[in-house]
Every structure is written in C-alpha cells, then in structure tokens.
C-alpha cells in the first residue's frame, strides 16, 4: 500500500515539489477543483455543510461562552437569571483587575523564556545527534541509536520522581535549569531528524567535502539550510509541547516567580474564588498568545503537526 504513505515519509519529496504541492492543497481547499470525494450532488453538499456547521458550533461554544463571561461584570457573571446575555452590558473590569495583579505577565514571560530555551536546545542538540547517527561513523553508533529509539517508549511521567530527587540533590529545585533541562531530551525528534538527514542526497555533501569543508561546515552551512522546513516543523512542535507542559514545571517549582503559565494559571481559581469574570479573563489572556500565533502561522503549524505528530511512525 504505497498510496497511503504517511506524511512523515513523503515529507522530503514534498519539499522538492514544494510549490506544486502547496498549490494543489490550496486549490482543493478553496474548492476550486472538481470535488472528488463529494461529487456534484447538491443535497449531499448541503447535508455535509450542515453537519460541519453544527460540529463547529459545538466546538466554538465553550470558548465563546468563556469569552462572553470575561467581558461581564462579576454581578452579571453570577446571575443565573441572565446567564447568557449580561443585564448591565459589557466591561473590561475583569481584564484590568487581572492584568494589574501582575503575575499573569510574569508567568507569560517565564513560559516564553523556558519554552524558547527548550526549543533552541532541543532542536540544535537533536539535529546534531540526527546528523551524527545519519552521516557519520563512530564506535557504538548502532547500539546508541537503538537505545535512543527504544527510549521513545518511556513515558516522562515515570521520570518525575527521579528527576525531582536529582534536582533536590543538585540543589536545582526552583531554578530555570531544573524546569528546562529534563525537557530537552527528545529521542523522538532525534529519530525524526535522523530519518530526515537520511533522505537528503549525498551529492552536495560530497562537493563540500571535496572543497575541504569539515563536518561542522557541512552540517551548519550545507545540511541545516536545506532542512529549514523540517527544523521549523520540529521546532514548532517542541515549542507547543513546552509551552503547554504542566506536570514537570508544576513539580519542580514552588516559587511563584518561576511559575510557567499553565502552572500559574491554576492558582488563579483559588485566588479569585467565585469571581468568574476575572477567572475567565485570566483564562482568555493566558490562551491568547498561542491562538494569535496560530492565526498568523496556521499553515506552518498544521504542517508541523502533520509531519512530526506521528513521531516518525
């Protein structure tokens, strides 16, 4: 069944034929070509559109309701008689109260710093290892790679206790290093990048070697620039994972000044009690960064999930 090759495997080919493939997807997405799966049947088109609209409504409803709550006054938010539309109109009071407390911007900054550090380290280290496993020879290369692939099966959840013990011994609890370092070990990304380097043609590298380029030059100036789409896909995936990671940052930090957004935001409920408008305002503000990024980089994010999401299966 070669026709069902997964996107991971076809990624390099689609890179070569980049513009053509992009075009095909856009055209299909706009409904510009004859619709192959649905046909010309008007009834089925209307039915499909109806089903899609209902599903989308169900999926948009929770967030819309939260948004509505965030713009209400506290009195309106907890008034069961006017549960949908507020009696006294909309207000920004919830947002301003939450923002002025100051911890939300701090958590965002922490999340940004930590996720950026995790992403840069993971992508660089995994790409170097992927290159080493794909293009070089050294003793124990095979067994080390097999070990790396096997490690994909290890759920990070079982490492929480030893990581904690480790950080306790090293006196690193409540530091950025403690939150960042364990997250940078990504065997699956090494595997994906190794496969990616395997798929690149040898010729360019040969040419560079004849010109006297060493391994670092070949890696940095020849292969990495060629791999930009793949690196972006891996980077986006790692960033989203780090941005939303909860358990380890939750266990490794107790100092509010070091909390990331997913951890900090959970303390909001206890802080505000039954102040629903303020709680929802903080939820909306916390959700905003990645949703805005998604709106602008939709195509890249979709492609990143499609290529790395399967973990090189």
């Amino acid at each position: 069944m070669t026709s069902t090759e997964l996107p991971v495997r076809t990624a390099p080919a689609s890179q070569a034929a980049g513009p053509i493939r992009e075009l095909a997807i856009t055209r299909r997405a706009r409904g510009g070509r004859t619709n192959l799966t649905l046909g010309e049947n008007r009834v089925s088109r209307v039915l499909a559109l109806g089903a899609l609209a209902v599903l989308a409504l169900v999926w948009l409803l929770p967030a819309s309701w939260a948004l509505l709550t965030a713009f209400k006054s506290e009195a309106d938010a907890s008034d069961p008689a006017h549960w949908f539309w507020p009696r006294h109109g909309f207000t920004l009071h919830g947002f301003s109260t939450v923002w002025e407390r100051g911890d939300l911007p701090l958590w965002m900054l922490n999340s940004l710093l930590i996720s950026a550090a995790v992403t840069v380290i993971t992508v660089l280290v995994s790409a170097m290892a992927g290159y080493a496993f794909s293009r070089t020879r050294f003793p124990a290369r095979r067994p080390l790679f097999v070990l790396t692939v096997a490690a994909v099966l290890v759920p990070p959840q079982i490492l929480i206790v030893p990581w904690f013990q480790q950080m306790l011994t090293l006196h690193l609890l409540d530091t950025y290093a403690a939150v960042i370092l364990p997250q940078t070990v990504a065997p699956v990304m090494v595997f994906i990048l190794k496969k990616h380097f395997d798929s690149l043609p040898d010729e360019l590298e040969e040419a560079a070697r004849i010109d006297g380029a060493g391994h670092w030059r070949i890696f940095w100036s020849v292969l990495l620039p060629l791999s930009r789409p793949m690196l972006a896909a891996v980077g986006i995936f790692v960033f989203i994972g780090a941005w939303n990671n909860f358990l380890w940052p939750f266990v490794s930090t107790s100092d509010p000044a070091l909390m990331t957004l997913p951890v900090g935001i959970t303390s909001v409920k206890d802080a505000y009690g039954i102040q629903y408008a303020q709680t929802m305002a903080s939820a909306v503000l916390a959700a905003l960064p990645l949703v805005v990024v998604f709106v602008f980089f939709q195509r890249h994010i979709v492609k990143s999930v499609a290529t790395t999401g399967l973990g090189g299966q």
């Binding site: 999926w59 929770p62 549960w83 759920p155 990581w163 990645l290």
Partner: protein
C-alpha cells in the same frame, strides 16, 4: 585543499583526531540523554527497592517489599482501573470524531480556515486554561451546560461531583481539547489519497457514499491504526486535566495511576513506593505498546 585525501588538517592535534567527529556531534544529546533519561530510569528502579522518603532519614534497601505492597494495594488497582477506563472512553470518540471532522472538512466546502480554527485551536490551550474553562462550563448553578439542559427541559447534572458522571465529563472535556490533533493527522492522510482512484470510481458511476466506503475509508485504515495507537499511549498517561478538574475526586473515583504516583510521592513523601508504582505503570505502557506492535505487524503481513 583540493585533494580528496586532505584528511589531516594542519591545526588538528593528535588528541582531536582520536575522537571521531561523529561522536562529538552526538555528544550533547548523549550527555543529556544519559543524565536525564538513562540515569533517572536506573535511579527510579533503585529507589523502588528502597524506602526512600522526602523526610530526613537515610534510605535503606528493602528488596521487593514495595512491589509486594503495590500488588496488594487496592487503591493502586483502583487507580489503574480508572486509567484504563479513561483510555477506553476517550480513545474511541477521539478517533471517530476526528475522522468525521476530517472527512467533512476535506470535502472542500467553503470556510476551510474557520473549520480548522474551530477544531484545532483548543489543542493550543494550556491545560490550566482548559480546566478553568471546563470548571466554569460544568459549574452546577451558573455553568453553560446545565443552563442548556434547563432550556431543553432536562434535569441538572452534577458534572464533576457525581461519581458516576465525573470521568465521562473529563473525557468530554478531553475530547474537545485534543481532538484537533488527530483531526489534522487525518486531514494530512486524506490529502495523500491519490486522485486517480476517485477519477476511476467516478467513471464507473460510483456515488458519494460508495466512494467513501470503497475508496476513502480503506485508504485511511493504516493511518487509523497509527492514530489509535498514539491515542491509547497518550490517554494512558492522563494526569493533568483530571488533577486540575477534580483532583482525582469525588472520593478518588477519577484518580488515574499517574496521580496516585504523584500523591504517594509528593503528598505522602514516600518516593520509594512512588517509584515502584511508576514502574508498574511503565510495565502497563510497555505491554500496551507490545500488543499494538504485534497487531500492527500482523496487519502488515
């Protein structure tokens, strides 16, 4: 240096040449891997054989006592049961709903951008936000869902505080939150189905349903297996949303095995026993992986 044999460069010392460059490239990863993956795995195994605790006393070796205790621990089996139950009731809809969404969006109806945003955007929300949102939606007196049930004349539901409902409510929130990921994987697979299959079917006069059953779904069978495997492994690791929505309650009726590890280790301070339970959980994950691998291999043949 135009000669292809120009290996020994003038600056390279004998020591540098002794280390293969490939190893230098792999080294940063291998160091991190050894320190934060291999070593913790070994240390966790060692701790599971000791009575290590967060209190001051020095740990001592107690053999397999932790494992003996774990296998006789009714709470552990209960937590394991919750994890498996959650995995079943979340995986089925997370695969099926994603498939339906992708099939509908792939028909090329107008508004692609809106559909993708609606279905995928929740996946980008941090779990803290998801839990605040769903606690508000499930709020008994003021929440959206009980109001909607009122409107259609049905009784109110104690979503997160009724033992028979709570896990389903959590699974529903999880479906809303993460289905977009599987949806995108399906969408990518659909775009890879070759057009000529549909063209041939159209020439043969096959209708839309016929093409769905005879071409699209068979072409998606492989990706469906892969998505199901990934989903099962992801669902087995559930902790975050349960911990934040119910803290494992009411009466521990939703506590998954990962939360049991957390509770034993960080609330009960028994890191040794928590490590032993971690390894029981690891065994469950490995068994699930092995079973799925075997199933995949058999299908492939």
């Amino acid at each position: 240096m135009s000669s292809p044999h120009a290996a020994p460069r003038p600056g390279a010392t004998p020591v540098r040449r002794a280390v293969p460059p490939g190893l230098l490239f792999a080294l940063p990863f291998l160091v991190l891997f050894a320190v934060f993956m291999v070593w913790p795995l070994v240390q966790g195994l060692w701790m599971s054989l000791t009575d290590t605790s967060l209190s001051a006393h020095a740990p001592s070796f107690i053999g397999l006592d932790n494992f003996t205790e774990a296998f006789g621990d009714a709470e552990m089996w209960r937590a394991l049961g919750h994890t498996v139950f959650f995995t079943v009731i979340s995986t089925v809809p997370l695969v099926l709903v994603a498939l339906v969404m992708a099939l509908l969006v792939h028909t090329g109806l107008p508004g692609q951008w809106v559909w993708r945003l609606a279905f995928f955007a929740p996946y980008l929300l941090p779990v803290g936000v998801v839990s605040l949102l769903w606690m508000w939606l499930y709020q008994p007196d003021l929440g959206l869902y009980n109001h909607l049930l009122d409107v259609v004349g049905l009784g109110q539901v104690a979503w997160l505080s009724d033992e028979s409902v709570a896990m389903w409510a959590i699974a529903l929130a999880t479906l809303w939150w993460t289905v977009g990921f599987n949806f995108l994987l399906y969408l990518a697979a659909l775009q890879a189905v070759p057009d000529h299959l549909y063209e041939a079917a159209a020439l043969d006069g096959a209708g839309a349903w016929r093409r769905l059953w005879s071409i699209t779904l068979p072409q998606l069978s492989r990706i469906t297996v892969v998505i199901t495997v990934l989903q099962i492994l992801a669902s087995l690791k559930v902790f975050d949303q349960i911990y934040l929505l119910t803290k494992g309650g009411p009466n521990g009726s939703t506590r998954p095995i990962v939360e049991y590890v957390y509770d034993i280790g960080f609330t009960g301070y028994r890191l040794g026993y928590a490590s032993a339970i971690s390894y029981v959980f690891f065994a469950l994950v490995l068994i699930a992986s092995a079973a799925q691998y075997a199933a995949l291999r058999r299908r492939e043949k």
